[in-house]
């Protein structure tokens, strides 16, 4: 199975974006990889990106902060507070971007294990439709809800996906 087939991105309602991905590893290892800074540094961000700073206080009310350097040298600072942690099943945290104040989003990451493989479901919830619209206008991220399935179907049309 290729990664392209394995990663699924869906938009739900007016404010949410959901992605799922299956990993060939038991849940406790995936949970560690998602929550331990020394492991996160080895994979967070696509090829060429570097997680230059990673602080995680893994408890309800604990803070987290990521500084990611893009290949262009530009750095992105993300930070927030953990709301709930149920290891190794799920964690929920708030997220903000330092130089891009679109308000606070809430990200819930859930892990389900089946026969030694783990399905990750990440749900990002934006504060309002207005925020969502601003994000689309910025051309930067995430967007409208119930129409996504239709777009996904379109993108499967062989001529258009090239």
């Amino acid at each position: 199975m290729t990664t392209e087939e394995n990663l699924r991105v869906m938009l739900r309602g007016d404010c949410e974006i959901v992605h799922t991905r299956v990993f060939d590893a038991p849940r406790h290892l995936v949970f560690d990889a998602l929550t331990k800074p020394d492991v996160l540094r080895s994979w967070y961000g696509p090829q060429g990106w570097t997680l230059v700073d990673c602080e995680i206080d893994l408890r309800a009310g604990g803070k987290w902060r990521f500084v990611t350097r893009q290949p262009s040298g530009r750095e992105i600072v993300q930070f927030g507070v953990f709301i709930e942690i149920v290891a190794p099943v799920r964690f929920t945290r708030t997220e903000r971007w330092l130089d891009w104040d679109c308000g606070e989003v809430v990200v819930t990451t859930e892990l389900r294990e089946h026969e030694g493989r783990t399905t990750l479901t990440s749900t990002t919830r934006y504060p309002s439709t207005q925020v969502r619209d601003e994000l689309i206008a910025a051309g930067a991220n995430r967007g409208t809800g119930e129409h996504y399935d239709k777009l996904a179907a379109l993108l499967k049309a062989p001529h258009l996906s090239q």
């Binding site: 392209e4 990663l7 060939d24 990889a33 994979w43 991220n141 379109l154 049309a157 258009l160």
Partner: protein, 123 residues
């Protein structure tokens, strides 16, 4: 129209399988209404109706030949609708590919630890 309203019109136009097939055909080059109607076994009028929706969404325009009025694909609205999604996907796709490799190492390390523990317990 706001960016969000523009996207709504784009997505609504894309909601129909015939219209998607028309776009797929136009992605291969411009075509007249008659040429577009052929593979769908539809009347020219029915095809024209779909073309109007696509035109309103800005997904297609007319070619230079005024007599035939061939239709051409305009990729801009489609690009606008998918740009944010592409970036989001690219980030996680790239990250998770790296994570796959890390998990292989973590599994191996854990297996080695378990084997070592078993050996010790036997003694």
């Amino acid at each position: 129209m706001t960016e969000s309203e523009r996207l709504d019109v784009t997505f609504a136009a894309l909601a129909d399988p015939t219209r998607r097939a028309i776009l797929a055909r136009l992605a291969n080059g411009q075509a007249s209404v008659t040429e577009l109607a052929l593979p769908f076994q539809m009347t020219r009028a029915a095809v024209s109706k779909h073309l109007k929706v696509l035109e309103k969404a800005g997904l297609i325009g007319s070619g230079r030949d005024a007599q035939r009025r061939p239709r051409v694909l305009d990729p801009k609205p489609l690009a606008r609708a998918t740009k944010w999604l592409d970036q989001y996907r690219a980030f996680w796709q790239g990250s998770y590919q790296r994570l796959d490799a890390v998990l292989v190492e973590m599994k191996a390390a854990e297996a080695a630890k378990t084997a070592h523990g078993r050996k010790r317990n036997k003694r």
